[in-house]
């Protein structure tokens, strides 16, 4: 028989005014199993708590009911109080006689009766409450970072500098992401590569970062603190260990004219190549689609002949490797809306009327970055892709696909206003007699020195801004005729441009949905990953131990992406601060002997926390099949209990026995 103490709180006048606390504690004293029943003005106060502790000792109580305010207010407090006096904290119940009674009723008699009922219910429950111990989950203090853009790089370096190993997986042959391709960055106009490449090198050389480029996450198993990641290393045909990156191979390659991915087709690369000079690792990769030797299986092989270190292997195959990590940071970034074409999700095909893909001199903003970049295909000279002439009139269109639910996407891509201003500025710096024209909906320049930056583009570099949209672009005797509206002037505008730059909307990187499903992370209708709370848990996700940062969560500029990356890293570091994680023990469990193995619970569990398993004898002999809860994943909703026909599933802290006792106390 339990030895229960009931402690009824006056909460000053808050409870005592409407509830006759003396009568209550007297009545409760009569209940079997209740060894002391007291009331006190402020149970939560220091003297109140020590009163509880004294009684626990003197009456050697093994369960406590505090009748006061909401458990959401003070359950933790009183659990700690009881625990310090040697009562298992999970054998503490609270009866909410304030929010649910004294504050909402006036009639003293009925309120008092109700209070007694509520406490009786708690007493009935606490009698059955099982002593519980917090769950300890071992942590593999090692992180996986998916995506080697600026966010991924930042997260990886922070975690590695924090003293823990990082596995960084990048799909492309080199890390660097979108930022590596940018010319200069707003609002400071410092050269993108000058600030990024040193960080890339750090990653490449960091003793605690294991870098997998040209690789993808194939499979994810396990849970918080204990993930097993299968990584697919795509066949590179080059042994990155023995290769010195000397370049003999790509100089020798005869198949030179393949559109360069890094230059978005504006430049050319050989079949064996490094994406860009500062690539990390500075090791080439063979594009099996274009390499004659690999396509035909014979012939050519010049690169192999040239290679002094014999690092080229045409028989290279994809390879699967497995890595154990405790936390995952997703930093898969973004790509541009495909203008006038099907998007990944088969959705909108808007803006064909801008002739992108049809007219060579209509380019995307990322292509324009390459034209501006000193390391770009033109060495930083702004020229028309069609004829290499210097464009004297350049038209920039913002919101191509953004803020347009009729033809594109309803959301704002956030960075376009700023980089478009930057483009206009840089263009002017390079082509002094050139004129930049910008069509915009609104200028969104919220950010440190952002508004000032845009004003500079307009006032110092004389960019012409038209508040309005463009209806179509067409070629007429060598010029691109841009027809739009200037809604402020209330007049249509026609500009004969030499070059048009489209600020296409920001959309999540290809394949992010698949990755999210592997990780059990939610995503919105556009494929942006979902944070578990937009305000208070911005880098956490619905999957414990998986964090997100950068543009995979929403369109972001570099400073924001980097800040968020450090935030995600700190979340991982907080986990790694402990040998093992402790989780609330109020989780589900299966009575495996009685489980009928219908696995309805497995299908039901919102957290995939229940597995199909086998019950074995201690000597490993198969007894029967059963469902089995993974306490590392279970969040304690108890949905499995309700769907279990034999009630072999139960939920610690809210067991069938405890709840039925509570209900039956109301007879």
């Amino acid at each position: 028989m339990a030895r229960i103490g009931v402690f009824t709180c006056w909460c000053g006048e808050n409870i005592a005014r409407t509830v006759d606390v003396e009568q209550v504690s007297a009545a409760l004293g009569q209940l079997p199993g209740v060894h002391c029943s007291l009331d006190y003005k402020y149970m939560c106060s220091e003297p109140g708590q020590s009163l509880i502790q004294e009684k626990i000792k003197s009456e050697n109580l093994d369960a406590v009911v505090v009748a006061s305010c909401s458990p959401h207010m003070h359950l933790r407090t009183f659990r700690k109080t009881a625990a310090n006096a040697g009562v298992n904290p999970y054998r503490v119940e609270m009866a909410n006689i304030r929010e649910h009674c004294s504050w909402v009723h006036h009639d003293r008699a009925t309120a008092t009766t109700k209070a007694i009922d509520l406490i009786r219910m708690s007493v009935a429950k606490v009698r059955w409450d099982e002593p519980l111990e917090p769950i300890k989950v071992p942590v593999t203090r090692r992180a996986l970072v998916v995506g080697g853009g600026v966010a991924g790089i930042q997260a990886a370096l922070d975690i590695a500098d924090g003293g823990y190993e990082v596995v960084l997986v990048e799909r492309e042959p080199s890390i660097g992401g979108k930022m590596a391709g940018l010319s200069e960055t707003f609002p400071t106009l410092d050269c993108s590569q000058c600030i990024l490449t040193p960080r890339m090198v750090e990653v490449g050389q960091h003793p605690r970062i294991k870098l997998y480029t040209y690789s993808e996450v194939e499979q994810v198993e396990g849970y918080l603190g204990n993930f097993t990641i299968t990584i697919r290393k795509k066949a590179r045909y080059v042994d990155t260990k023995s290769c010195t990156g000397c370049g003999d191979c790509w100089n020798a390659c005869p198949i030179k004219r393949n559109p360069s991915e890094f230059d978005y087709g504006l430049g050319m690369r050989p079949a064996i190549y490094i994406p860009f000079p500062q690539a990390v690792p500075a090791r080439p990769v063979i594009d099996k689609e274009t390499c004659t030797r690999i396509k035909k299986g014979k012939g050519c092989g010049l690169c192999e002949k040239k290679c002094l270190t014999h690092s080229i292997h045409f028989d290279d195959q994809d390879e699967l490797v497995s890595e154990k990590v405790g936390a995952v940071v997703v930093a898969t970034g973004f790509k541009l809306y495909s203008i006038g074409q099907q998007q990944d999700d088969g959705a909108t095909t808007g803006y064909g009327e801008y002739g992108y893909g049809k007219f060579k001199d209509v380019v995307t903003s990322l292509q324009f970055e390459r034209l501006l970049s000193a390391s770009g295909p033109t060495g930083g000279r702004v020229v028309r892709p069609s004829d290499g002439k210097e464009p004297k009139n350049v038209v920039f269109l913002s919101c191509v696909g953004s803020r347009d639910d009729a033809k594109g996407l309803p959301y704002c891509s956030k960075i376009c206003c700023m980089y478009t201003a930057k483009h206009a500025m840089l263009y002017k710096h390079k082509v002094h007699d050139g004129q930049a024209h910008v069509f915009y909906m609104d200028i969104r320049a919220g950010g440190k020195n952002y508004e000032e930056f845009v004003r500079r583009a307009i006032e110092q570099d004389g960019a012409r801004y038209y508040r309005g949209r463009v209806s179509r672009i067409y070629e007429e005797n060598g010029k691109l005729v841009v027809r739009g509206a200037d809604t402020l002037a209330g007049a249509p505008v026609t500009i004969e441009a030499d070059l048009v730059v489209l600020a296409a909307a920001v959309v999540p990187a290809t394949g992010v949905r698949d990755l999210a499903r592997k990780l059990n992370v939610g995503y919105d209708q556009y494929g942006f990953l979902l944070e578990s709370h937009p305000k208070l848990r911005p880098v956490e996700t619905s999957a414990a131990g998986v964090f997100i940062c950068g543009a995979c969560q929403a369109p972001k500029d570099i400073p924001e992406a980097v800040a968020q990356a450090s935030a995600a890293a700190s979340k991982a570091l907080i986990m790694f601060g402990h040998e093992e994680l402790t989780r609330e023990p109020e989780v589900a469990r299966i009575d495996e002997k009685n489980c009928a193995a219908c696995f309805t619970c497995v299908r039901t569990c919102p957290y995939h926390a229940i597995d199909k398993a086998e019950l074995l004898t201690p000597r490993g002999v198969f007894v029967k099949r059963t469902a089995r809860v993974n306490p590392g994943l279970c969040m304690g909703c108890g949905t499995c209990v309700a769907v279990c026909p034999s009630k072999s599933a139960d939920l610690a802290g809210f067991t069938e026995q405890e709840i039925y006792a509570e209900v039956e106390a109301l007879v």
Binding site: K593, N594, C595, A596, A597, C598, F599, T600, V602, R603, T604, K612, R625, V643, P645, S646, K647, S648, E656, Q657, Y660, A661
Partner: protein, 271 residues
């Protein structure tokens, strides 16, 4: 057909394809045949009412080894559900389907699956099922009554329940190792055969079969007190089809109703 059934059984046993054939013996009683020569004991006639699927989940039957089972189209639906709930390994089971034009059971009038659809082997042929008879059935008549009358009706019916649990034993889908009715911590269902306990039991039995019951009607047939238990399953089956277009055991691919959810689920009753 009986002949072909016996031949098949004998063949399967002699070839060692299976160690056991679950079929109907004399007077349609269940027969567990383990030797080829005993195949002669198998019968096929209009007394083969029982749904033999119930034996597949029995420990002692499982112990007899790889089994073949004789099913009617209606019984076969139970196999589909058992497979969905991973109670049987369909691959390890040999299903002998009997094309059946009815075994004189009341349910046969509305049967839609005269010919088994997923059997490894079908014996006999059967014309397409005739359209079910029009006009109200027992459930319609019951639902036509007022709520109070229905309450009175079930009171009268359950009053005769003696908690023998024949309905549970005979149900091919009541396979729990420890029935919730036998759980005593806490006592979820009042064990005594009082009206209170009887209601608790029959509500539970019926709802545990919700979106699962294949309407074989064995519960009603087995009830010594003659309580029309099938009505409860039937009403749930109707609701299940109405809400989710789901008919248990009809489609091997269909996702079970419980364990899934849809944002479109009706909630007109939720305030």
């Amino acid at each position: 057909m009986t002949e072909r059934l016996r031949q098949t059984a004998a063949r399967l046993l002699s070839e060692g394809k299976v160690q056991l054939v679950i079929g109907y013996g004399a007077a349609g009683r269940p027969a567990l045949i383990t030797k080829a020569e005993d195949a002669e004991k198998l019968e096929w006639n209009d007394r083969c009412l029982a749904n033999l699927a119930v034996y597949l989940t029995r420990k002692e039957v499982k112990a007899l080894g790889k089994a073949a089972i004789v099913v009617k189209g209606c019984d076969e639906r139970a196999l589909v559900v058992l497979e969905k709930e991973s109670q049987i390994d369909r691959g390890a089971l040999y299903v002998i389907g009997m094309a059946c034009d009815g075994v004189g059971a009341p349910k046969c009038g509305r049967c839609q699956v005269h010919t088994p659809r997923f059997a490894d082997e079908v014996i006999g042929t059967q014309a397409e099922p005739p359209a079910p008879p029009a006009g109200p059935n027992g459930l319609d008549r019951l639902m036509a009554k007022s709520s109070a009358e229905r309450w009175a009706f079930w009171n009268a019916e359950f009053a005769r329940c003696v908690k023998c649990y024949a309905c549970r034993q005979v149900c091919p889908l009541c396979y729990c190792e420890r029935c919730i009715a036998d759980k005593n911590r806490p006592v979820v269902i009042d064990t005594s055969a009082t009206p209170k306990g009887n209601f608790a039991w029959h509500i539970t039995r019926a709802f545990h079969l919700a979106a699962r019951c294949v309407g074989c009607g064995e519960c009603t047939r087995a009830c010594p007190a003659g309580i029309p238990l099938g009505l409860l399953n039937q009403s749930l089956a109707q609701a299940t089809e109405a809400h989710f277009g789901y008919r248990p055991g009809m489609d091997r691919q269909a996702e079970p109703v419980f364990g899934a959810w849809s944002p479109a689920d009706k909630e007109d009753f939720i305030g």
